[in-house]
Symmetry: C2
Subunit: 345 residues, 2 copies
């Protein structure tokens, strides 16, 4: 098997192969050296491969006849073994690829990836992580909605999974980890949060436990990794997106208020666009499925070629830096709590 093989669901998201094939082309231009297994509908994918010969050269196309739609329920997607999504994930399980990328239906992708790839030893269930922009740069935030309720074990596992992704994605040897809470004092928050905090303060893991943080610490970038349950994480991420959009809206309003502000905008527009592009790209880079026996990236459903190429680069980096192996190793030292008692995993 070559150095790096990525398995791709070409039919997911709003743009399907129109984002995936040009996205591979962009990633190759950005220096990605890999082989691609492309799963998709022949009449959609083949004309694009003809148009992008560089992509065709390093790809193997596998024609499918079924796809998972945005409306499909996870439970029905699981049963359709001939879809581009199912087969792309299966290729990782079968050892034909090192990682999989899809822009498809998040619920279906999570359920199918979990069924086929299974979780790593010591990890009870997979989580979805995302990168969020901060004043200091970027932070890894998880869970973004895979598990709407969590227990202390889940919080501890997320701290490990997020830290190792932080090492790779942020290039930081010992990322700081904060648990999202309604105050920084020890006695605040749900019981399971306090229990997880007390264990993380004691054990050794690839990150460095910082303590409780609050919602505004996300934007401040107080910690490299932010751990929270999937309900809170999903609401926080989407609230952040909404407020970022609201801020842009009001800035636009300010710039169209007077003739002077319009002229001011013209002069500053290059700088403003530069900043806006930086923030947007960071906010919408999809989700990392962490905790599975294999690398699986959910590219944003609305991804264009640029977005998809970024997802490919992240997948490649996670494979090359052995994300999965490092998690399996770290989990050996992490205790598993059952009914309040602590035992080694």
């Amino acid at each position: 098997m070559p150095d790096l093989i990525l398995s791709l669901d070409a039919m997911g998201g709003d743009n399907g192969p129109d984002a995936v094939i040009p996205g591979i082309d962009l990633a190759i231009k950005d220096g990605l050296n890999a082989k691609f297994l492309i799963f998709g509908i022949a009449e959609r994918v083949e004309p694009l491969l003809a148009k992008y010969p560089k992509v065709k050269e390093c790809s193997e196309f596998i024609a499918v006849t079924e796809i998972v739609t945005a409306q499909d329920r996870a439970s029905s997607a699981l049963r359709k073994k001939g879809t581009s999504m199912y087969m792309a994930i299966q290729a990782v399980k079968d050892g034909q690829a090192h990682g999989v990328v899809s822009s498809g239906n998040t619920g279906a992708l999570m359920a199918t990836a979990r069924l086929i790839l299974r979780t790593l030893p010591g990890v009870d269930r997979p989580f979805i992580a995302s990168m969020m922009p901060t004043i200091k740069g970027r932070s890894v935030v998880l869970d973004m909605g895979a598990n709407i309720t969590c227990d202390a074990d889940a919080m501890i596992q997320m701290a490990v999974l997020g830290s190792i992704f932080g090492q790779i994605g942020l290039g930081n040897d010992k990322p700081t980890v904060g648990i999202l809470n309604v105050g920084s004092e020890d006695q605040k928050g749900h019981d399971y949060i306090r229990q997880a905090a007390s264990i993380l303060s004691d054990i050794s893991f690839p990150g460095q436990y910082y303590g409780f943080i609050e919602g505004d610490d996300i934007g401040k970038g107080t910690t490299d990794v932010v751990v929270t349950d999937g309900f809170t994480g999903n609401v926080a991420l989407k609230t952040a997106e909404g407020i970022a959009r609201m801020s842009s809206h009001y800035m636009r309003e300010a710039f169209t208020k007077t003739i002077w502000s319009k002229l001011g905008y013209l002069l500053a527009s290059r700088s403003i666009k530069h900043i806006r592009a930086k923030l947007d790209a960071r906010l919408y880079n999809g989700g990392l499925f962490l905790g599975l026996q294999g690398v699986c990236i959910k590219s944003h459903g609305g991804s264009d070629a640029v977005g998809f190429s970024r997802a490919l680069l992240v997948a490649a980096q996670m494979v090359r830096e052995d994300y999965t192996g490092r998690v399996a190793e770290a989990m050996k030292n992490v205790p598993h709590i059952e009914n309040g008692s602590t035992e080694a995993a």
Copy 2:
């Protein structure tokens, strides 16, 4: 008793009487016609009253010797019956004032207000609401942290409490109410959320049930009232504050990037400052304690005179428009769920 009497804790917040006394002065200038009972330490308050004769004219000063500090635990604040906070709340209970405003320690204020004033019939516990800026204007969001876990009854009570505040604060006869969730489909989210949603769809209350909303709907202003548990609400509010600050940070960065953008800023600065002031004031107007037998407003701990004067105007409006009486009336028609069965309150 005159038309409107407000009882004020002059010793709360970072600025204490230095915000409270000039804040009353500003509110009077803005047309507030009321009598004020001011509870505070004589050597701090009296020199200020001498400086603001218009305030002195319509106030009664009651000297205290004890105060609640930012570090005090709620449980210890409850026992100090001679503090400015305790006595200001007691004045409402005793019928000497119609409402109370304090910038003091939120936990202490909530615990003391709940102990002294008690909740309205049909309301199990008080909630904290806040106004948040949106693209459309403003929305009422609750609970902001008084109850980190909630049940279906709490969600329904918040829908009623928030709607009536929406009628008063937003001037909207039938405010729309959304429940914050991780998706808009019926089967999403925690059980108690789905149960509350199903009841709110059936009953008649002062608002209009819209359905599930997601985090980005806060910034969009999709509904007038946003209902969520205190953990999620606290994280969402603080995340919003953090992201708003991050956006400002990056805009500042954009404007100092080149000589052209600096010049652009100079030209647009009036318009930008105007918008920024609008957003800031709305984000930081403190919390409304809803569900108590009396109007109680928590002004932001960092409030200056302007912030405190706004809190006074909100309290006055809630008293004049009989917030408390309207809630008591509306709660008569709201069912109370116990162990899954529904019964009239």
